[in-house]
């Protein structure tokens, strides 16, 4: 997985195979399967490549179908669903070994003005006061560098540091950013954010059980992933990942997350449902 923004940018720079057909590079990784955020980010770039200038992504919805193979590049096949005056819609099928592993639908819009409101940003310690967990992620010997392209500052979760809220037992808050400057192209920020938005998000669904994300007590596999981009923002400046899990049942947990920039502006919303199983199942099935 990318350790630097340069490696992340390489990941987001797809090779054109044919009209509406692209291939992503596959960075080395010791993870057993491709990180979902990578597939989502590459699929978003593929969709955007097929849309003329003047449209910006405002939402994406996707399903993870099969674990991605980290040893093979991923092919992105784009279908043009709509080219309207105000909106353009694309479906992207991500394939490996002749099989679909992921499917995303993306909607893009010509920017316009309209009604404005937003939820108020929660009161949280700033990124400088929050807990730097990058070293913890790298492990005791510092060798686990898979997540190095992201900076994490942990604010807290329902079982740890956050004030009790009986009405909402599943919550987690985290500051994130890409660890170095990105070029100004808004699409790169949207794609880099999409990459990061699949990291840590299920922590909110595990917090009512006192389980922290990244532990081996549970197997977590993302089932779907949605992002609504309310306005452009920089993925390389701190943003608050305010995660709320309204419910977990039936082996699945849902998280709705709000993304605020450092000025308290609500810039994006994210939703993810994941399979949460208390033990490791046999490889390959989900």
């Amino acid at each position: 997985m990318p350790r630097t923004t340069a490696e992340l940018l390489a990941l987001l720079d797809l090779e054109t195979i044919d009209d509406n057909l692209f291939r992503g590079t596959q960075p080395g990784s010791i993870l057993p399967r491709v990180f979902g955020g990578q597939v989502a980010a590459q699929a978003l770039v593929a969709a955007d490549r097929t849309v003329e200038g003047g449209y910006a992504v405002h939402s994406l919805h996707s399903y993870f179908l099969q674990p991605g193979d980290t040893a093979a590049p991923i092919v992105y096949d784009v279908e043009r669903l709509r080219d309207g005056r105000s909106f353009a819609t694309r479906r992207v099928l991500a394939r490996q070994h002749g099989r679909p592993i992921y499917v995303m639908t993306v909607d893009l819009q010509r920017p316009e003005e309209g009604f404005e409101h937003q939820d108020r940003v929660p009161e949280v310690p700033g990124p400088d006061e929050a807990i730097d967990i990058n070293d913890r992620i790298r492990g005791a010997d510092g060798s686990f560098t898979e997540w190095d392209v992201l900076d994490f500052r942990y604010v807290g979760s329902s079982h740890d540091l956050l004030p009790a809220d009986e009405d909402r037992p599943g919550r987690q808050q985290m500051w994130l950013r890409v660890n170095d400057r990105l070029p100004d192209d808004p699409l790169l920020h949207a794609a880099a954010f999409t990459y990061a938005s699949d990291a840590t998000i299920m922590g909110a669904a595990l917090s009512p059980q006192g389980i922290s994300i990244g532990t081996r007590e549970v197997m977590v596999a993302s089932l779907d992933h949605s992002v609504w981009f309310h306005r452009p923002f920089r993925a390389d400046e701190w943003w608050l990942f305010d995660q709320h899990s309204p419910v977990a049942t039936g082996g699945r947990g849902l998280v709705n997350a709000r993304i605020f920039d450092q000025d308290g502006v609500l810039v994006a919303s994210v939703a993810q449902e994941a399979l949460i199983r208390p033990m490791r199942p046999s490889a390959g099935e989900r």
Binding site: Q109, D119, E166, D224, L254, I276
Partner: protein
């Protein structure tokens, strides 16, 4: 129109005609609306997806986009693509077509029921539906063609208004745009789970976008509204013909769009579904 016929008409929507394997057609509907109600397309598409799935699997989520306004004068064709057939999960994509063009795409995921970790938000404290304002009766008394068309869309539903930001709900600066109501299908839907899923899907599109305008003092004549996407996570089975609370919050609106998230609670406080919708909300010039 009697309640029974409104219910029959709603149920008739979900009784798709099989054209070929994985290809279905909805029945035409009497309506005075210039375009098909989004909840109808969503519910029919979901029914088409369910038809192609082994009953051992139940739908746990659907994501969809509205592409073009549906033409109420011709039936809608639903074309199902089998994207995945796994041991635990199945995925279907349904394209809704009219006049040779896609008007709506839905992707749905199905799972063999299993157990796991459990938690949920606590249901907000609201009054009983019996004590709340009957919205459908209010619409029927409107007397204008628009009100009659709206009342027709809601005809099979019971709706009791709880309140919205500034109107019946206490001010909440944390969530400035929200609204709550009780909903159900009026009558007996029977025991087929698909009927409840479809009826709920139909109803889930009827009020959610309104939450995006709760913070804005504008009337329907001042805004152009259209659903852009529609997402449902079905957490567990429930009856669509018994009251459920639709707790709708709009976290943000900007750029001509508003997003709303709805939590759905049954009367006993169980969180049974979550709905998300982004819509176009344009000030009419």
């Amino acid at each position: 129109m009697s309640e029974q016929s409104a219910l029959e008409e709603l149920m008739g929507l979900f009784d798709l005609e099989t054209i070929d394997a994985d290809l279905y057609r909805g029945r035409p509907v009497r309506t005075t609306r210039p375009r098909v109600f989004g909840g109808q397309v969503a519910a029919q598409a979901l029914c088409a997806g369910i038809r192609t799935v082994d009953p051992a699997y139940t739908v746990h989520s659907m994501h969809s986009y509205f592409l073009l306004p549906g033409d109420p004068q011709v039936p809608i064709v639903y074309d199902v693509e089998r994207i995945r057939d796994g041991r635990s999960f199945l995925t279907r994509r349904v394209a809704a077509r009219q006049h040779g063009r896609p008007i709506y795409y839905l992707t749905a995921n199905f799972q063999v029921p299993e157990d796991g970790l459990e938690h949920q938000d606590v249901m907000p404290e609201v009054g009983d539906p019996e004590d709340a304002v009957d919205m459908v009766a209010m619409m029927r008394s409107g007397g204008t063609p628009e009100a009659d068309a709206l009342a027709k869309e809601w005809a099979a539903l019971g709706a009791r208004w709880v309140g919205s930001s500034g109107r019946g709900l206490p001010d909440d600066p944390v969530h400035p745009s929200r609204s709550r109501l009780w909903l159900r299908v009026e009558g007996d839907l029977g025991d087929d789970p698909t009927a409840h899923l479809a009826a709920f899907t139909y109803a889930s599109d009827i009020s959610l976008l309104g939450a995006t305008l709760a913070a804005h003092p504008v009337g329907p004549e001042q805004t152009q509204m259209a659903s852009l996407d529609h997402t449902i996570w079905f957490h567990q089975p429930f009856r669509a013909d018994e009251w459920w609370l639709y707790d709708q919050v709009s976290p943000a609106a900007r750029g001509g769009r508003g997003l709303a998230i709805g939590r759905v609670f049954t009367r006993d406080g169980t969180l049974v579904a979550t709905v998300a919708q982004e819509g176009l909300i344009r000030p009419r010039r």
